[in-house]
């Protein structure tokens, strides 16, 4: 199960979500697909992949690959973790 770091400060710009890690003062911007993933957390990889697949008409493998890329980018920045 993937979950958001509860300390992250979120600024919603409509089609873009800007995340700020308050301890690191690092910013990370999510596009619409990334925002879709973030807003569903906590969630499993299967669930997030399924959402991308149906929202953007992706193949199951492409949706899973895209979700994994976003989650890994978020995890390496301590914005999410997997429990």
């Amino acid at each position: 199960m993937w979950q958001a770091n509860s300390a992250v400060l979120i600024t919603d710009l409509g089609d873009e979500l800007v995340l700020m890690h308050p301890e690191r003062s690092e910013m990370f911007s999510l596009n619409a697909a990334g925002k879709l993933i973030w807003q569903q957390l906590p969630a499993t990889l299967d669930s997030l992949s399924h959402s991308l697949e149906h929202t953007y008409g992706l193949t199951p493998s492409q949706a899973r690959s895209d979700a994994e890329v976003v989650l890994e980018q978020l995890r390496t920045r301590d914005l999410v973790n997997c429990v």
Binding site: A7, L9, I10, T11, D12, L13, E16, V18, M20, P22, S25, M27, F28, S29
Partner: protein, 302 residues
């Protein structure tokens, strides 16, 4: 019990007269009924506290023990270190405990008292939760329109503010501003503009006669301000820089650095909302030391 006002909150204090007096010097201001607030929708009026009872802040003694599982950090503010712990809406700062709420908050101080830094952090957190976004920015006004100037330390904010005061504009604050996200009203909590003699002599010599006899601990002159002369709406925020254009992420980062980071959930929820509302007021292109005065005057005269 002492009763006084801070932004839109009614403060009920059972602290000692000395403690109460110190806080009032930094946090008390009168209630202002701005046109902006009166024209708000009922839901926003309730948020401002105009109809459904004002926000309340209670100050008294007694600190509950720190629970297991609280987040902890050592924070530095005002050149002093504060041991902080927080858990959802509860905040411990040294020997000061705060229950932070949107409509009511309680601050309980232990027998050892609390440092000025701890009080500042706690009361800022309480005001955040009440919908007031703190801004480390100077605010200058003409009539009911106000412009904020922000920037990193040394960028020229204080000099620009001194020059604008010398030009006859009203300085609402030097660097302690609070912006109300629901109404757009901006308030200041500074009583003076602090400046070294040579700055006053160079940029606004006519203000020297207004300076108080006493000086601050750094030897700066204290020029009285009139932060509560009237309600003002913030129309734009200018960031001092080299004239560069900031992207969205850069603008968001600057606003978070200007407002500071909340600790408790009620303050974080309100601040996130506030930053989103404030972002459209932040000009993407920074102003320089050379262009800031003209930019402020143009905005306030338009």
């Amino acid at each position: 019990m002492n009763s006084w006002n801070s932004l839109d909150a009614q403060v009920q204090s059972e602290l000692t007269p000395a403690q109460d007096s110190e806080l009032r010097a930094l946090w008390e201001n009168p209630v202002l009924h701005s046109q902006g607030s009166e024209s708000l929708a009922p839901s926003a009026q309730a948020a401002v506290g105009l109809h459904s009872g004002r926000r309340s802040i209670e100050l008294r003694g007694g600190v509950p023990p720190l629970p297991a599982g609280a987040s902890c950090a050592s924070l530095t503010l005002m050149d002093s270190r504060v041991e902080a712990a927080w858990n959802e809406s509860r905040l411990w700062l040294d020997d000061l405990y705060t229950e932070v709420g949107q409509h009511s908050s309680r601050l309980l101080v232990g027998k050892g008292g609390a440092s000025a830094a701890a009080w500042a952090l706690a009361l800022t957190e309480v005001q955040r939760a009440g919908g007031w976004l703190p801004l480390h920015a100077a605010v200058v006004a003409r009539g009911e329109k106000a412009v904020a100037i922000t920037g990193v330390s040394g960028a020229g904010k204080s000099t620009a503010t001194l020059r604008l005061l010398g030009l006859g504009l009203r300085v609402i604050c030097e660097d302690r501003a609070f912006w109300h996200a629901a109404s757009g009203e901006v308030r200041g909590l500074d009583r003076w503009l602090r400046a070294f003699d040579d700055s006053v002599d160079t940029f606004a010599p006519q203000l020297r006669a207004q300076a108080l006899a006493q000086r601050d601990i750094k030897g700066k002159l204290l020029v009285p301000l009139t932060p509560d002369a009237g309600a003002a709406q913030l129309i734009e925020i200018l960031a001092l820089g080299d004239g560069n254009v900031m992207n969205n992420a850069g603008r968001v980062k600057l606003l978070w650095e200007t407002t500071g980071y909340p600790l408790t959930r009620p303050a974080r929820d309100a601040a996130q909302h506030g930053v989103g509302r404030l972002l459209p007021l932040l000009r993407a292109q920074t102003v320089t030391r050379q262009t800031v005065l003209g930019a402020v005057q143009e905005l306030l005269e338009s």
